[in-house]
């Protein structure tokens, strides 16, 4: 019996062991692992987001240019749907009965218990029809939200578009965005997303196992009210923006106008443009595809992404840096026989002026004069120190914004090309000098800039020595907050006293009988400017004009580029004059030369599509051709494929460049 009595301990021991096993597992799931706790929260707690209205955008005269418009979605909760009159619903929505069935089926596959989209953005008429008969369709409900609306249908590239977030956006936002949220994808909508979107509200609701709401969580302690997006005031003047878009109709190019005193961008035209209203509705995808199919590539934001050789419009900068350097003084003259000999090759000039001074050199856009200026600058420390001197010059020119992003409040800004001396060292070793890079002195060859950079140079000249970072939004929110980096003066390193002679030259360019832009005089307004004609190996040259007005106390600085427009004076300068006149006087008076806005607006300068099979190649050649005109790159390429190809007469490295330049008389004016 004793032995059997001991079995009591085995039985009791078993009880204890089992109890410990149970407690062990409980310890694990209750204390060590928190997965159950998280699952429990996701079981009962559902967050419902309240979407705030996106901030509106006004122009500088407080006119609304971007606002919100209500749209209606028809939602369905499939398990609440009872048999209904499919025909009535189909008629109200202007769709077929089959569509109704298909959409219902699709909603079922998404969720049976949750409200999902049945039809997005139903028309106002459909909405009105539905409101009267909604009671016949249990399980359906309409939900309103807002989409962007652009009353003037202008500046598509500037504002960009808002679209549902992508998985990458969600990941990057670290939890802010949820699937189905909207985000600014390009333009101002993108760069000011954080201000425009406002703050999402959230309602925490408890749900039971049957997915029936059981009231708020913790009495709404963790709920957040939606906060509307900030209102933005754009620096844009809608009057000249509209005028600019009209003038650039059927042309490829860009217009940027800046208020010099503030750096505020007054006009920001990218042509061809598009109606931003195309990208709000349910036809988004269709419209986007047709946009991409356009051979003139309206999706390129040309004011900041188009890179053009500045051409002759670079010359004022040249002159100012030379004056600051002491390489010339305002009265320095050079002799122009109609060309300039850079070593053994010729840089042609369009005229034979004989002895010419700086002001006339600017007004007449004399290539010879500025080649001499450049020669003086680079060789001022002796022929052996040319490369070091170039580095110094590069530094001075860079202060004007060339070769770097200006930091405008738009995404995807390009820097343009402006090489440091190590770039040339790589190609030529140490055997290069001013003749190698002489084309830069007249804004050709290895230098490109965006229209924004060109307009900014004009602002700096108008301000006599500094610029403010160009920007599109001048005030954020009700307090009109201005970003502090927009009030910092960026000095370009040229003393104020050197500006007047150069400005005088630019004044003469427009207002003197021998000026290159004399057709663009505005009665009563003293506009100063500089034309440029950018060599285009693929077709007609690009017409460029940069300028500012009035001469004293300037109010507007402008850069206009018309691709395939020919001489700077033929299209870019008159277009500039219209915009400047409109901005300063709010009207356009008839011109003595008979130029009218409508005549320019109706001129079609779109390049012909020669190879229809390869539209992509052609348009690339057009807008981005500057990369190709970059002679250095060409030499590099040809070096890679070896001179053996013989397609170009490239023999020795330093000679190669000369050959290219003499082959192509790059500068016409």
């Amino acid at each position: 019996m004793d032995q059997l009595f001991n079995r009591k301990y085995i039985v009791q021991g078993l009880f204890i062991v089992i109890a410990l096993i149970l407690l062990g597992k409980l310890f694990y799931i209750q204390i060590i692992s928190d997965s159950a706790f998280i699952s429990a929260e996701s079981n009962v707690l559902k967050k419902k987001y309240k979407y705030p209205a996106r901030g509106a955008i006004l122009d500088r005269n407080m006119k609304v240019i971007v606002q919100n418009e209500p749209v209606y979605d028809l939602m369905v909760t499939p398990n609440e749907v009872k048999p209904f009159d499919t025909l009535a619903l189909a008629t109200a929505l202007d769709i077929t009965i089959d569509d109704v069935r298909k959409k219902l089926k699709k909603a079922r596959t998404q969720s049976n218990y949750q409200s999902t989209f049945f039809e997005r953005q139903i028309s106002v008429q459909s909405y009105a029809r539905l409101q009267e008969i909604m009671y016949r369709f249990p399980g359906f409900l309409t939900q309103d939200r807002t989409v962007r609306h652009f009353p003037d249908s202008i500046a598509g590239q500037l504002f960009g578009y808002v679209k549902e977030v992508s998985p990458e956006d969600i990941e990057k936002s670290e939890g802010y965005y949820k699937p189905g949220d909207f985000i600014g994808k390009s333009g101002l909508e993108r760069s000011y997303e954080d201000f425009l979107r406002g703050e999402k509200g959230v309602v925490n609701t408890l749900y039971d196992a049957k997915n029936v709401a059981q009231g708020s969580y913790a009495n709404g302690k963790y709920d957040v009210n939606a906060v509307s997006g900030e209102r933005l005031i754009s620096s844009l003047d809608i009057r000249i923006q509209r005028l600019g878009e009209e003038l650039m109709r059927n042309k490829v190019g860009a217009i940027v106008a800046i208020e010099p005193a503030t750096g505020e961008i007054l006009a920001f035209v990218s042509s061809p443009g598009y109606d931003p209203n195309q990208f709000v509705g349910k036809d988004w995808g269709k419209n986007y595809m047709s946009l991409l199919a356009n051979p003139y590539r309206p999706q390129i934001v040309r004011p900041i992404a188009g890179q053009y050789s500045p051409g002759s419009s670079f010359k004022p900068v040249d002159a100012l840096v030379a004056l600051q350097d002491g390489a010339i003084d305002p009265s320095t003259t050079f002799f122009c026989p109609g060309y300039y000999m850079a070593g053994n090759h010729k840089v042609k000039c369009e005229h034979v002026d004989g002895t010419i001074n700086m002001q006339r050199g600017i007004a007449r856009s004399c290539n010879t004069y500025f080649c001499h200026v450049f020669q003086n600058i680079i060789t001022k420390n002796g022929m052996k120190k040319q490369r070091e001197t170039y580095a110094h010059w590069h530094e001075q020119i860079s202060k004007w914004g060339f070769g770097q992003k200006l930091g405008i409040d738009m995404p995807f800004e390009k820097a343009g090309i402006f090489y440091k001396n190590d770039h040339y060292d790589k190609i030529y070793g140490k055997r290069w000098g001013y003749t190698t890079v002489i084309s830069q002195s007249i804004g050709q060859g290895e230098i490109t800039s965006t229209p924004l950079q060109m307009a900014n140079v004009m602002a700096a000249i108008a301000n006599r020595g500094y610029y403010l970072r160009p920007h599109l939004i001048k005030g954020i929110g009700d307090k009109n907050v201005v970003k502090k980096e927009y009030v910092v003066k960026n000095y370009v390193g040229v003393d104020e006293k050197y500006f007047e002679p150069v400005i005088q030259g630019m004044f003469e360019a427009v207002n003197a009988p021998y000026g290159t832009a004399k057709e663009s005089q505005i009665p009563g307004i003293t506009m100063c400017g500089k034309t440029g004609t950018v060599q285009n190996p693929h077709g007609k040259n690009h017409s460029v004009f940069i300028g500012f007005a009035p001469r004293d106390n300037p109010k507007i600085a402008i850069a206009v580029i018309v691709e395939n427009g020919g001489f700077g004076g033929s299209y870019a300068a008159p277009i500039s004059s219209f915009i400047v006149e409109k901005y300063l006087t709010d009207s356009i008076k008839p011109k003595s030369n008979g130029y009218t806005v409508s005549a320019f607006a109706n001129t079609n300068l779109l390049p012909a599509l020669k190879e229809k099979a390869k539209p992509g190649k052609l348009t690339k050649a057009d807008s981005l051709l500057n990369k190709k005109t970059d002679s250095t790159r060409r030499i590099k390429d040809s070096l890679k494929i070896k001179a053996a190809t013989l397609k170009r007469t490239v023999a020795a490295k330093p000679k190669a460049l000369k050959a290219v330049i003499t082959d192509k008389p790059v500068i016409k004016k």
């Binding site: 079995r7 009591k8 009791q12 009880f15 799931i29 209750q30 204390i31 699952s39």
Partner: protein, 420 residues
């Protein structure tokens, strides 16, 4: 004299056990109250689950106390009749029973429903105790094992026919009292081995199991190579084990219902199913796990309140305890049970009569099976077997039958000095 008799009687009752009983019933009532939807708990009413449970608890207590007034010897004497009565009820339920959730387990008398399987437990316990106590049989004899097996087996088979596998499984608990009375430990080992092989058969390919079994057997035979008898029995066991492995596969497919199969597969982690058969277990574990160390607090359990755990007031009541009272609450409940079980075994051992001792062991082991299977099921270490948690789960039949089971033993214990 009468008064003195009464005092002595009440003094002899083990009031500590009664206290634990009351504590568990109270815990049950509180958690049933918490597990009904909020709109039902707002207004007290006797038509609600907790209202009914309150009636069950009070009547159960009255029932238990009135059992204490009986003469203990009656249970010994009447045990064959009680046993016979429960067998009849079990047979009756197969004929006139109501089908609830696929099981024909209930007899409805008016609005009152009776579950005979619950009462069969103490009926069987009484007769088994009587058999062992009266005949003092030797458990080495095959005959003894047969008779004991028959006493336990008859109700077990009848319950299996309902079919109520969960309740039937509880009858395996009678192995422990018999073990205490001299049944060979090998029976427990074989039983344990069968469970181990059953589980292993799902997790490991059968041929590997066969190799392992054969290898162990070979080693064992080699070590005992001079003892022919051991070699013979080892070979026999090995053959049975291998046959058992194949039998499991066949029986698993042919005998078990699909829902039972999926419960087993879920428990073994062979499949996951968040919506179907696995829903109960997963939700129950989520509820318990979300209680963390100290729980969400009384009536604060969201999983409980919003009905995420099915069968929450009955078989899954432990999930409410886990969610609202946390690891602390779970430990208290398990601690109370273990204290009760250990005390019952100690009480059983102090009995002079074999009848009382065997019965005491039966009570302890039946409660143990219920507690282990029920809690194990709610935390996912045992497949879903629908049996109640003693004294805590909602339900009159189970509460009363556990009360009767326990209080009969308390009565016997209070008479432990007597002989019968």
């Amino acid at each position: 004299m009468q008064q003195q008799q009464g005092n002595r009687f009440f003094f002899n009752v083990d009031w500590i056990t009664v206290l634990i009983y009351v504590a568990l019933c109270t815990i049950g009532f509180v958690n049933i109250f918490a597990s009904v939807p909020p709109e039902q708990s707002a207004v007290f009413g006797f038509n609600t689950l907790y209202g009914k449970q309150l009636i069950y608890v009070i009547t159960g207590l009255v029932l238990g106390l009135s059992i204490l007034l009986f003469d203990g010897r009656l249970f010994n004497v009447f045990s064959p009749f009680i046993y016979g009565g429960t067998l009849l009820l079990l047979m009756a339920v197969l004929v006139i029973g109501n089908k609830v959730a696929g099981n024909q387990a209930w007899i409805a008398i008016g609005s009152f429903k009776l579950q005979p399987a619950e009462f069969a437990k103490f009926g069987t316990a009484l007769l088994l105790a009587r058999y062992v106590g009266a005949f003092n049989p030797k458990f080495r004899d095959f005959k003894t094992i047969m008779i004991a097996g028959l006493i336990v087996g008859a109700p077990l088979v009848l319950i299996m026919l309902q079919p109520d596998t969960g309740s039937a499984l509880v009858f395996l608990a009678f192995m422990f009292p018999l073990y205490r009375e001299g049944l060979s430990g090998y029976f427990l080992l074989i039983f344990l081995g069968m469970i181990v092989l059953f589980v292993a058969d799902f997790l490991v390919p059968t041929y590997i199991l066969i190799i392992i079994i054969t290898a162990i057997a070979g080693l064992f035979i080699y070590n005992n190579r001079r003892k022919q008898k051991i070699i013979f029995s080892t070979i026999l066991v090995t053959v049975f084990a291998i046959a058992y492995l194949f039998l499991i596969k066949v029986a698993y497919e042919k005998v078990l219902a699909p829902h039972q199969r999926s419960r087993i597969e879920l428990m073994l982690g062979l499949k996951t199913d968040n919506r179907g058969a696995g829903y109960n277990v997963i939700q129950s574990q989520i509820a318990i796990g979300s209680g963390q160390a100290t729980g969400r607090g009384f009536l604060q359990g969201t999983q409980t309140k919003y009905g995420y755990v099915p069968e929450q007031s009955t078989d899954f009541i432990f999930s409410t305890i886990g969610e609202e009272w946390g690891f602390l609450g779970c430990s208290v409940v398990i601690g109370l049970y273990i204290f009760l079980l250990l005390r019952l075994v100690n009480l059983a051992e102090r009995q002079r009569s074999t009848f009382s001792r065997v019965y005491g062991y039966c009570v302890a082991c039946i409660l143990f099976f219920h507690v282990f299977i029920n809690i194990g099921m709610t935390i996912g270490i045992i497949p879903v077997i629908g049996i109640p948690l003693p004294f805590i789960s909602y339900g009159g039949s189970s509460l009363w039958s556990f009360t009767i089971l326990l209080f009969i033993f308390l009565k016997l214990d209070s008479n432990r000095m007597g002989f019968f």
